[in-house]
């Protein structure tokens, strides 16, 4: 397995592919059992986000290293309509029981680092990282 992998995301089957590859990659980085599930779940959420709001996009998965620590990074990119109000999008919609609601706030909770860039009409890029404890 190479250090970086690109997964095209356009059908719901790609969500499964992305999260399974993510799990494999995270295993290589040395993550523990429960962390593997957290990472796979976060990937599932951002991948689903691409499907729901854009025609297609891609997810880039790779091993990360910083200050002697190992980890993984996930970059989810789409050419969708973009998010007009990022702050609002990142508010928790779950506690109020709304069925609609981006899985992004949830994904952020599961990962150590979470950055989101979005431009209306251009698309969205989400970068997440998690480090081995």
């Amino acid at each position: 397995m190479t250090e970086q992998m690109r997964v095209a995301v356009s059908r719901d089957a790609d969500i499964v592919t992305a999260r399974q590859l993510g799990r494999e990659l995270a295993t290589k980085a040395g993550f523990s059992g429960s962390d593997l599930t957290l990472i796979a779940t976060a990937i599932s959420e951002v991948a689903r986000n691409i499907i729901s709001y854009a025609d297609n996009g891609e997810i880039l998965l790779g091993l990360a290293a910083r200050d002697g620590r190992r980890g993984v990074f996930v970059v989810a990119q789409d050419d969708g309509p973009g998010i007009p109000d990022i702050d609002q999008a990142m508010l928790d919609g779950f506690s109020t029981g709304k069925s609609l609601g981006l899985g992004l706030p949830g994904a952020r909770r599961l990962m150590d680092e979470f950055e989101i860039e979005s431009e209306v009409g251009r698309g969205t890029t989400i970068t997440m990282r998690k480090w081995c404890r």
Binding site: D12, I15, V16, L38, T41, R48, F94, G97, R109
Partner: protein, 122 residues
Amino acid sequence: MPVPILKQGEVLIASIQAALTDHDLLQLKDELADKIGRFRSRGVIIDVTALDVMDSFATRTLRGIAATARLRGAQAVVVGIQPDVAIAIVQLGLTLQGVATALDLEEGFEMLRRSMVKDGPQ
């Protein structure tokens, strides 16, 4: 890949595999709704033991399945949520409110038995 649904008396059992796509899950929802009606099932057990990830879509759909089952006179129980998955669901802030959960098939059957005894023969 469609989810296999078995019938055991008045209970339907759906065993979910790990590589479950959104499409498979939605198809399961429709099939269960259909079969509950056809077989007049009183219980539905959805076994997610093999599911390695339960994200917002999965929990939403399971809640939908339970609600649909209830409307058709059946009780749904989700069994086999694994420790790592349970932690992820909770940390994600998702809820399975309205869905009964049990440890495994045996516990699921026990739960259904108790509630069906309560309801009495129909």
